[in-house]
Symmetry: D2
Subunit: 394 residues, 4 copies
Amino acid sequence: MPFHKIINDPVYGFITIDSDLVNHLIAHPYFQRLRRIHQMAMAHLVYPGAVHSRLHHALGAYHLMRCALQELINKGFPISEEELEAAEIAILLHDIGHGPFSHALENTLAEGMHHEEISLLLFKELNQLFEGKLQMAMDIFTDNYPKKFLHQLVSGQLDVDRMDYLTRDSFFTGVNEGVIAYDRILKMLTIHEGELMVEEKGIYSIEKFLVSRRLMYWQVYLHKTVLSAEQMLKRIIKRAKVIHAECPGQLNKFINEPLQNITLQQFCAIDDYDVVMAIKTWCSHPDKILSVLCEGIINRSLFKVKYYNEPVKEAMITEQRHAIMSKLEISEEEATWLAFTGEASSSTYNFENEHIHILFKDGTVKDISEVDDALINENLKGNIKKYYICYLRS
Amino acid sequence: MPFHKIINDPVYGFITIDSDLVNHLIAHPYFQRLRRIHQMAMAHLVYPGAVHSRLHHALGAYHLMRCALQELINKGFPISEEELEAAEIAILLHDIGHGPFSHALENTLAEGMHHEEISLLLFKELNQLFEGKLQMAMDIFTDNYPKKFLHQLVSGQLDVDRMDYLTRDSFFTGVNEGVIAYDRILKMLTIHEGELMVEEKGIYSIEKFLVSRRLMYWQVYLHKTVLSAEQMLKRIIKRAKVIHAECPGQLNKFINEPLQNITLQQFCAIDDYDVVMAIKTWCSHPDKILSVLCEGIINRSLFKVKYYNEPVKEAMITEQRHAIMSKLEISEEEATWLAFTGEASSSTYNFENEHIHILFKDGTVKDISEVDDALINENLKGNIKKYYICYLRS
Amino acid sequence: MPFHKIINDPVYGFITIDSDLVNHLIAHPYFQRLRRIHQMAMAHLVYPGAVHSRLHHALGAYHLMRCALQELINKGFPISEEELEAAEIAILLHDIGHGPFSHALENTLAEGMHHEEISLLLFKELNQLFEGKLQMAMDIFTDNYPKKFLHQLVSGQLDVDRMDYLTRDSFFTGVNEGVIAYDRILKMLTIHEGELMVEEKGIYSIEKFLVSRRLMYWQVYLHKTVLSAEQMLKRIIKRAKVIHAECPGQLNKFINEPLQNITLQQFCAIDDYDVVMAIKTWCSHPDKILSVLCEGIINRSLFKVKYYNEPVKEAMITEQRHAIMSKLEISEEEATWLAFTGEASSSTYNFENEHIHILFKDGTVKDISEVDDALINENLKGNIKKYYICYLRS
Amino acid sequence: MPFHKIINDPVYGFITIDSDLVNHLIAHPYFQRLRRIHQMAMAHLVYPGAVHSRLHHALGAYHLMRCALQELINKGFPISEEELEAAEIAILLHDIGHGPFSHALENTLAEGMHHEEISLLLFKELNQLFEGKLQMAMDIFTDNYPKKFLHQLVSGQLDVDRMDYLTRDSFFTGVNEGVIAYDRILKMLTIHEGELMVEEKGIYSIEKFLVSRRLMYWQVYLHKTVLSAEQMLKRIIKRAKVIHAECPGQLNKFINEPLQNITLQQFCAIDDYDVVMAIKTWCSHPDKILSVLCEGIINRSLFKVKYYNEPVKEAMITEQRHAIMSKLEISEEEATWLAFTGEASSSTYNFENEHIHILFKDGTVKDISEVDDALINENLKGNIKKYYICYLRS
């Protein structure tokens, strides 16, 4: 009997594994480690259901890749067994380089390192371990495989990564409005001159997909309270580095040693648990800045956030800092850790970079922003930027 | 014990009836008759699940009215028990004047009569029967009640009618993309100076609601095949009137006598069943036009429809008519029944008429199209119009 | 490109048709006619959402057959393309012989005829029309095909017919408790010595399936009010036959002529619409019995039903009949039409006939009722029978 | 405006908080700490979605309590505003005494202490803090409040605790078969002589509820792999105590000091994060037993489990131990940590203790196991017990 295993998924019902290699990759400690990294960092402080892991997302994206390719095969496009498995692996491992709290601490814990680079390093190590069997998957991942649409499914405007995280994050937060018709979008995919496109009758589904993403950004990912918690989290790590705070486990190296001292294995040894334990430890740290931030996260006393359409006035931030200075008896410089401003932005459909192409029945191709009566043009164009102030409540 | 009855609804779980008067209205033959009228006319020929009745929709809208008012009461707005029941009745009966196949045959079976007028006539008759107990409900229905927001919930840009039909039609067609976050919208409703408004944080939900409506129009209500079937249906009735075709039951009066001969009771005696039986009967009618149209509906051999962004060229329609003339051996005038053109249009958010108002935390009020970074402005403005040709396949 | 068509289904998402032959069968008037037959007869009078058609059920069962066979193929059991298509067709047409209101009027409209026999007649006719291409499907349908499990999937304790109707009826009634884990059951199916079995780890799912069926019987199919409406419907047809009531359309032949005069084509010409129109016509029939029954159905003034664990006492029924006699001024014989008793029974898992076999990992096979700690034995054994009285409310 | 806050919940949609006191309790660190305790301990190793927290469960049970009481109020039973809030608090805090990994480590980390006792201690402390405002809630919790049904809703055969955890655990595992019709059960609740009962027409829903629980036990809670992980977890803590292994943070006290040295505050300082960090630390512990167990959990290399209907034979366990002894070069005593046997049992409906009472329309009361044609009697009676062997794979 061929290898066959099913995993229960509340989002898609069942996820099927029928490749021995895929099964071994899932069982590898590098992949299992993703269990201990929240997919949505601190969003669960607002949406208590949003505690799903990055491992779960990787499995979900893998499942959608299978569905997408099956649809394309059914439509008569040639995709070999080998390519199918390689694409499955490429998406399975696309996020393997994520560190603790994913995006929220990216570039903070390991400054200057993006998760894609680390993913690629881990990809290479696993390829060695599995004797070169991951080569085609790596080529797809790095966009060096001739069938360009395979890479586009891994990373592009319509990739299964995005489709899974929007679907999954909607599901676990309970924000039903973010739900996208992933099943319909998958059925509308097609290939034209080697590129991934959408059939004409899928236009409305794509519009809805882009509007859902816009909504998820402002209602969930950049929700005031989520932003507050993630900004606090970032500052905890930064402050700990500045004052050389000690913490248990391997995380200590990341806080107190230069990045070049750290090996890939050490990177893979830390996860959300190390960070939360450090935060719990630091709740009673003598440094007031650090302990205030840490207690805020642990007991969910989060900083106040207000959004504005224009940059925050200097006077406003000064007022908050002064209040904090006298309350905590700290210096102005120290108060900048507990009251600060910033920008948040989301681009729903970025015109500069990549495009969603619609293939019409008569063979013509148009960008989604150029079809007649398009919803997606001026309004969803470019970045929407908002300004915020974030400060300890007095 | 107070009156208490629950009805299972696959969309909302349970619908509760706890007013004796509401219960009696539901039991009345005028209301029960709505069981025999499809909510979505011929849409089930494309979406086989879309066979739900107008009675079901009325019950659903009634349920949402209860939920909406309960939210407003919880927020501290004064709404009396009497007003609650009156608003429930107003929405329960808002569609009671619909005839067979609702919108699809409106103005065709009973020319020049809109269902709102008939609803009002029936409302009056029921008010007499129930000894004036429906007076406040009628005042709300006709917008003559001082608390304007009650009427706006029955009929307005954010009424529970629309919220239920979008939700219900999405559910029964299986077009999940049309799903709106009715529960969230209800929670975001508020009242300001007597008018229904939406709280600031509900903006994205409203955008999504309007985009869903746009999608439902083009993907479902104006789907090519649905349009075809409904145009065929209309022409069956028109043709039957022209050639004085006989049919069983009370419908015969509508076909063969002037409208002024028909009583309200006779109007209430006909429903989808009369029309379908007439169509079945006419499948073997000697008039070729009539029998071709009727067989098409019964056996689901529907006319071909093509949409265009510009008016259909004369040559195109002439070509189709000539093909039909020689195929069926009929005259050019006759062929105009079986090959014709038309316009379909939907307005997602009509700027001219009514407005969705957003109430900001600072007390200011803006139209949804005027908030910063609004999605809903130029693009969703006014009507989108498409042109179509529809003809018997050769 | 291979033939490929998708149908939206609110229950399963999408149903895929990828065989030209299947597509032609679906388009045939015999199949399209199932659109006009309610899957659940009169249940919508209690559960307003339960208006789905027998066509929808046939499509759903077809979808589950595809899923079931795909699972079995994935597990390595040999099933050819031809067998796959034949099994799809066998289930698609399994109910094609149903008449108006399905089971509710079976054996009443066409006395002595079961829908399976008519299905077979229609199967044969279609086989001729399609030049013998349905032969293998017919062999599977009639259990004359060597791979016995294919027939068992069409008709057996674990057939996809049952799985679809339980799932679909739960969905449309909103009785979520009837929901079965069809997807899990399908994943647990296996084949042993040519017979359909369930893997060991599927035991709890099967138990749940049987308990759900039990619940659906008593809560939905034999719900007091549903029973009442269906008994009234039966009596309408019987009474019409006795008094030779006239009605429009082809139904008149069924009422007023011997069965042998009726052709298969005439049988296929009638559906729920004919019966409802007849009932509407008879609401004003001079025969009091007939008009009372018909008005009851049309206006939903249904007879009272009470269930008992023992046969209803003679005195009770006599009392009701006397009340009706004096109320309507009718004879005792006539009153028996409006007050009567009966038995209702359901068998959850019938021990006599067929068996659900569990295949254990060690290769042994046990009946579901014989596994250790079985839930399904004495209690779900045989028929549960209840007695009822049903009468016109006074 | 009255206090009003909503929380998104993927299971119930929205959870409403409209009491200031409830809001303050939720914000308290003792309650927030439940965010860091998995509701289902190690079940996520099999069901990746099952990562929801005990805080989420507490909020869910609180929501069901509100729904249940609202139904009873609608049915005319007198329940005061004060009682409503007290019952809400009683259920909100019912699990506040849970420690890391809840049941899995109960009685292991803090030997001899049950979570109910600790809950009560914390309840008392919070009552002091909130100046006696939790007194009625405590009386309900400890069954000292006259309206007995309030306690039964907190803790009894039909309590909202159970209803929430079955619903929520089904939802997050994706085991749809465990879904119970909580909404219908709530609508069927009634009170008779001060006790919580179920209306006659709710019998089938209750049966389904009990069968679902049975299924959830064997398919999820006692799933072989879940059992394995939880047994390994228990042994990690036990082994650490035996060999006095050191670990970071407050957990160290629990491992290395007698229970009487530990304060309630210290108990509240530890959660799943402490335990997982300790396990990560111990992966490289010199004690082979401890490091093997810890690595097994972190990398998901779980022990093999086999279930039997009879006690496991001595020879079988000896064989496994010998294999481990030679593989790891350890003593027989040490091998008993890595190969062992045990019993697992579930009682679906325990006849000894408490009863589910059905209130019939005629006023009689019967136990669910005594109604006619009861499903729930011999078969679901008492405990089902299974025996298992659990050992390190060689």
